[in-house]
Symmetry: C2
Subunit: 432 residues, 2 copies
């Protein structure tokens, strides 16, 4: 028996489209796993004439926000307008009307999270915003569920994909800041007005939310010292590289002796730090807990579908709570009921190390036997001959193209029986 | 008003001690954040005479499992004995008695998870096992909550710290397998009998659980093709390094055309893959979802406290469900109520790039002004002079030891006013 959960969505920009599309793609899987039938029933769209590049029935659109906020049928309001107002006002009205709210809006949560959270509590509804920090990366959920038993000494995040893309391009290809920014704009990683990203304001909003969750401290973006990447020059990048560092725009906070320090700033990170190899538009969050120790989450911090993944995850979380019968649901849920079947290891490229007699024609004979089994060789290397059991032998290392392992084993066995392989010493899969 | 949650713990080995210790360290924080007072009231200890190296009141110990399984006061049973039996029997009896169960036992869940999950459902209680896969890394919770809206095409995990430590030591220091294993045993990363780790059986148990959660498919460890690392030789490591690969023991599964393929095997991974730089005893799980795209979780997959963190996270999760009033709890929970205060950016090492007039004594003058402000220079570099506005100038890049940024800015301003700095072009924090 499926419970229908009705969702009203405010806004149909990039994230709105991604959320709608992710639900279309995965509606069946979500229903099978949770027993919940989630439907986006109304969408606030102030410009219905605009082509959104996605097929949504026209009757779902409304230009009147009240049709969503006042609809008694709607359980959950998803706010994807962005910006502090009118988003905050809409969320406040939804919560006051007894609807749970899911949002991706870092600016509104950083500015008004306290007020909205209190409203949610007063009205016995939920407010969730996983998508507001690091997009698809489930950092907020993890911090406040599975990792809740920790006290954290610090958090360090690459929380803005635009600036990370620019810094990576400057560092990897020696581009100037201006060229890297232009490139990011062409690729859709930077907006026409990139101020909020390149000046670090976007990252400061996200850090403000993390500081509240991790330390229980009110640090509004306005009090977080924030420096962007516009002063980072190729000289800085070069000096950093020569000195064993990478430059990253880091949003970080740490507790020392009862005080929480934090800021957003380009930082020289030692290349050995896990965050140093987070490149291009990817985000990552590194936390240090007093039980779990160092932990890093890496993934896409923006983009319609990754952000939509986080929005939908929150919608499912709220829906599960609304569904009283699922109070004893099993999370994580062991499942053995899908239509899929387990089929062993499949085909792969393989790397084989073997010992062969050192004489003319051996390589040709092995290759012939491989060929008879339809195994193609990508790469072969022979090391210097040596003596084993009074015989001159050599080690061969093959990489072969995709093959089923039993076929490979049969070919190797045939070659061994024919005396062209003395021993098969290791077989490893090659990941592509 | 705090709700007291009583926990009975089976076993007081490494993970038991870590769990107890993590709760001691963080009891206050957990209570403040959740309103839950979690108490470990009884501990099954078959060898009470053994010194466990931790201060636990003797009256908590019992040698009789029934004193825990049949105690009506106990809400949650935490199973940390390990091994399939008698752990499975104890968990089954706890569930049948209406107690929720939290376990770190991958072998028992891989072997009997289906039966235990059904028992939990029938008895309206919960079964959780976050600690069973990748220790402190919250992968199971994330997959089944925030990431639930995805269909996953694959999962790739470095799920065994022992083998990853051995392979890293072989690769970084050219050690032989035997020497690296001995080293791991001395450091406590490998057991006296390392079979379950080095033969890949431990990773196969964990992969079996991941395949159920991700694909809904029953792949018991016995049907997962499993190869350990005992055949990996220094020649393999060298060949891999020369060819742009690292060798990792990978537990992986992928869906292709309605079939799930998976195995545990040493794999040649391109060095550019995020998993390739997961070194030593660290674990990582890499998943690819159809909405969230690529995502990686990195952290400690073993050790008393990291595993205890995951166990306690599950205990808190169960406790929140038991606590009916928290049905509308706010997760993630914005908090502004801790005793901590936000104190700005604190002290850091800094990297400063500046333009200076090219004449004798400039560097000395700047250093003197730094010294007067108690700023110590770690490193300075001067680039070739050039002409700017008709004057010969040079770029200097300083790295200075820890200082408060306002102090640094004051010193720089003084130097600028004294004419020994023409412009301050960039200031960046240096992460240590």
């Amino acid at each position: 028996m499926k419970k229908i959960i009705k969702v009203g969505m405010l806004g149909i920009g990039n994230v709105g489209r991604g959320t709608y599309q992710a639900l279309e793609m995965n509606h069946k899987k979500i229903a099978e796993t949770t027993g919940l039938d989630i439907e986006i029933v109304k969408i606030l769209n102030r410009h219905p004439e605009k082509d959104r590049g996605i097929d949504i029935p026209a009757e779902k659109y409304t230009a009147d926000v009240d049709e969503i906020l006042n609809d008694p049928e709607i359980d959950i309001v998803v706010e994807l307008i962005g910006g502090i107002e009118p988003a905050t006002e809409y969320m406040a009205r939804a919560l006051a009307n007894g609807k749970s709210v899911v949002t991706a809006n870092k600016a509104a949560i950083a500015a008004n999270g306290k007020r909205l959270a209190a409203l949610a509590q007063d009205n016995h509804v939920l407010l969730r915003f996983e998508a507001a920090v690091a997009g698809g990366i489930p950092i907020l959920t993890s911090l406040t569920t599975a990792l809740l038993s920790n006290r954290f000494s610090g958090v360090h995040g690459i929380l803005n994909g635009t600036t990370n893309y620019i810094l990576t391009q400057m560092s990897e290809y020696g581009k100037s800041y201006e060229d890297a920014l232009k490139d990011a704009q062409i690729k859709g990683f930077a907006e026409a007005d990139p101020t909020a990203d390149v000046e670090g304001l976007d990252a400061a909003n996200k850090l403000s939310i993390l500081i509240s969750l991790i330390f229980g401290v009110d640090a509004s973006p306005a009090v977080i010292p924030t420096q962007g990447i516009t002063t980072v020059a190729t000289e800085d990048i070069k000096f950093a590289a020569d000195s064993g560092f990478r430059i990253k725009l880091l949003a970080s906070a740490r507790e020392i002796d009862g005080k929480v320090y934090g800021n957003v700033e380009p930082v020289l990170l030692p290349v050995s730090h896990p965050l140093a190899s987070v490149n291009n538009e990817f985000n990552a969050v590194f936390v240090s807990g007093n039980a779990v120790d160092d932990l890093m989450f890496y993934g896409r911090g923006a983009g319609p579908l990754p952000t939509g993944s986080a929005v939908l995850g929150d919608v499912i979380g709220v829906a599960r709570k609304l569904e009283k019968d699922s109070a004893y649901d099993i999370v994580p849920q062991l499942r053995y009921d899908s239509d899929l079947e387990f089929a062993g290891e499949g085909t792969s490229k393989y790397c084989i190390r073997m010992m062969v007699p050192e004489r003319a024609g051996i390589l040709g004979k092995i290759s012939t036997i491989f060929g008879e089994h339809n195994i193609s060789v990508e790469n072969v290397r022979q090391n210097s001959p040596y003596t084993s059991d009074g015989e001159t032998v050599a080690d061969l290392i093959f990489i072969v193209f995709k093959v089923e392992k039993p076929v490979l084993l049969a070919a190797l066995e045939e070659a061994r029986e024919a005396g062209v392989i003395k021993s098969i010493d290791n077989i490893m899969r090659v990941e592509e």
